[in-house]
């Protein structure tokens, strides 16, 4: 279990407003959250509630409009964060190995070394033998594995994952979830994992954050007191798992219904 007083990221009253031509969209409002060093944090919430926006702010791809964002880091040559993006994000013009080692290349690692490191993660993700292939020659599931390998290979302090397995079929999803946990347990990197699946959040996370509908803020924080390593085939019948599942499901339902009422008015 991560130690809860060493936060690595702290968000205080963080809001994000998107300015459109003639209107504004308030995507996040007064979001408060601490993320602890080494934890696996899952975020669930109704679609369109600002989960991707939150990750993009953490990744530095988007500026928050107000509030405070503190990211603590000790001096190191590691990159601060790597993101596994929602949907296809591999460069179609690079081979699998060049995609997977892109972060390392940007860090100035020599070709031989970066191919070695990336190749290791690729084979961990079951992609040995596909190094020279181009993304369009792979299935969607394989492409997603490459982008996970790319994120791990660049060895960041913080891993950001935006519904990485959202579009995969059930078998692929289970395999990748297990592979992800295996690598995570070796590295214990702070991981922030957005998902729309309660099941996935409970299988993977140390804590689950439930977000409200847009404008998104933290509705509740749920500790997942399930021991690791987790056995996927048994854990679903664990009484704690079932109780947590129902709790989160009820919270999400509240949000979705309140949203439906709002939009019907």
């Amino acid at each position: 279990m991560p130690c809860h007083d060493t936060y690595i990221i702290k968000l205080e009253n963080v809001s994000k407003v998107f300015k459109l031509d003639s209107s504004y969209i308030k995507a996040l409002e007064d979001l408060n959250l601490s993320i602890y060093n080494g934890e696996f944090l899952c975020i669930v919430g109704p679609s369109g509630c600002g989960k991707s926006t939150l990750l993009r702010i953490l990744a530095g791809l988007e500026e928050h409009t107000s509030g405070n964002l503190t990211i603590k880091r000790e001096p190191s040559d590691k990159p601060l964060n790597s993101m596994v993006f929602q949907g296809d994000s591999l460069f179609p013009w690079m081979t699998v190995i060049d995609n997977a080692s892109y972060g390392l290349k940007m860090q100035g690692v020599s070709k031989k070394e970066r191919y070695e490191i990336a190749g290791e993660y690729l084979s961990k993700m079951g992609l040995e033998g596909f190094e020279k292939a181009y993304p369009h020659q792979l299935s969607g599931g394989m492409r997603q594995r490459v982008s996970v390998a790319r994120a791990f290979a660049s060895d960041p302090e913080i891993l950001l994952m935006d519904e990485p397995f959202g579009s995969l079929d059930e078998q692929n999803k289970i395999i990748l979830q297990q592979e992800l946990l295996k690598i995570w347990e070796e590295t214990r990197k702070t991981t922030i994992f957005v998902t729309h699946s309660i099941d996935e959040a409970l299988l993977l996370g140390d804590r689950v954050i439930v977000m409200t509908t847009i404008p998104g803020k933290v509705k509740s924080v749920i500790e997942v007191n399930l021991s690791r390593p987790r056995d996927f085939s048994e854990i679903r019948s664990d009484s704690t798992f079932i109780a947590l599942y129902q709790k989160i499901w009820r919270e999400l339902r509240e949000e979705v219904i309140s949203d439906a009422v709002k939009t019907n008015l």
């Binding site: 990744a59 530095g60 790597s82 994000s89 013009w93 690079m94 940007m106």
Partner: protein, 254 residues
């Protein structure tokens, strides 16, 4: 089976047309002096081919097309990339490009002759001009239309300006750059004929115009056939280079 039938049809149709053409002119349904006939053309074309005359003119034109093409495509690509990447370069050049692009390049021929004289240079310049704009515009929109997600990935993984240029902007724009090359090649073939009209002493375009002066329909057809052959090899060549340079380009939907 259906496929092979369809293939046979596409070989059959040109043969049928040639036979029909021959018949029509044999039986004087069309004027042989204006439309000639496949056999008459062959009779003129074969000696031209054997004597090397046809190849000589072909070679002259190929040199002009390739040189003129490079002269236009390289600066077009460089400026197109810069305009796509840097808003201040784009703001500066956009009005100039918008104002001058619509001028038909043929209309500039006399001006070019006055400025560059009757020699080789003006022929290259007119081709280069036509190529330049098409490559520039395609390259720029290739860069501007790179999907946001790739820019995000590059930024997230810490790509600097130069790295972004080399690993994302350029390869991402390559398919559009090649689309530009192909359109530009068509224009180059059009312009070579016009360029060789004025003050040339050799070249396939020149052959066509001289045949016109001498009312030598068979030579004219021979030159036209070579012209279409040139069009074919240039577009085939570009396809080949494209396959080498863009091995990742999906043949299925992308």
């Amino acid at each position: 089976m259906q496929n092979s039938m369809i293939k046979k049809l596409s070989i059959l149709s040109p043969i049928l047309i040639l036979i029909l053409w021959e018949m029509l002119s044999r039986f004087h349904i069309i004027d042989e002096r204006l439309f000639s006939s496949p056999l008459l053309i062959l009779k003129v074309m074969l000696p031209l081919l054997i004597s090397g005359e046809l190849l000589f003119h072909m070679w002259i034109s190929i040199k002009r097309i390739i040189l003129g093409f490079l002269l236009g495509a390289v600066p077009g690509m460089v400026l197109g990339l810069s305009m796509g990447l840097f808003p201040f370069v784009r703001s500066f050049f956009q009005p100039l490009v918008s104002a001058t692009f619509p001028i038909p390049k043929l209309a500039l021929m006399p001006l070019i002759l006055i400025i560059f004289g009757l020699g080789e240079v003006s022929k290259l310049v007119i081709i280069a001009l036509g190529v330049f704009y098409l490559v520039l515009i395609n390259t720029m929109s290739g860069v501007l239309n790179i999907e946001q997600i790739y820019l995000d990935v590059a930024k997230n993984y810490g790509a600097g300006k130069k790295e972004f240029y080399l690993t994302v902007a350029f390869p991402g724009a390559l398919p559009m750059i090649f689309a530009g090359f192909k359109v530009a090649m068509g224009t180059a073939l059009l312009l070579i004929v016009a360029a060789e009209l004025s003050a040339a002493k050799a070249g396939i375009g020149w052959m066509i115009w001289r045949a016109y002066d001498m009312f030598d329909i068979e030579t004219m057809f021979s030159a036209l056939i070579v012209m279409s052959f040139l069009g074919f090899i240039f577009s085939y060549g570009l396809d080949l280079i494209e396959k080498l340079v863009i091995p990742w380009k999906n043949t299925e939907a992308e």
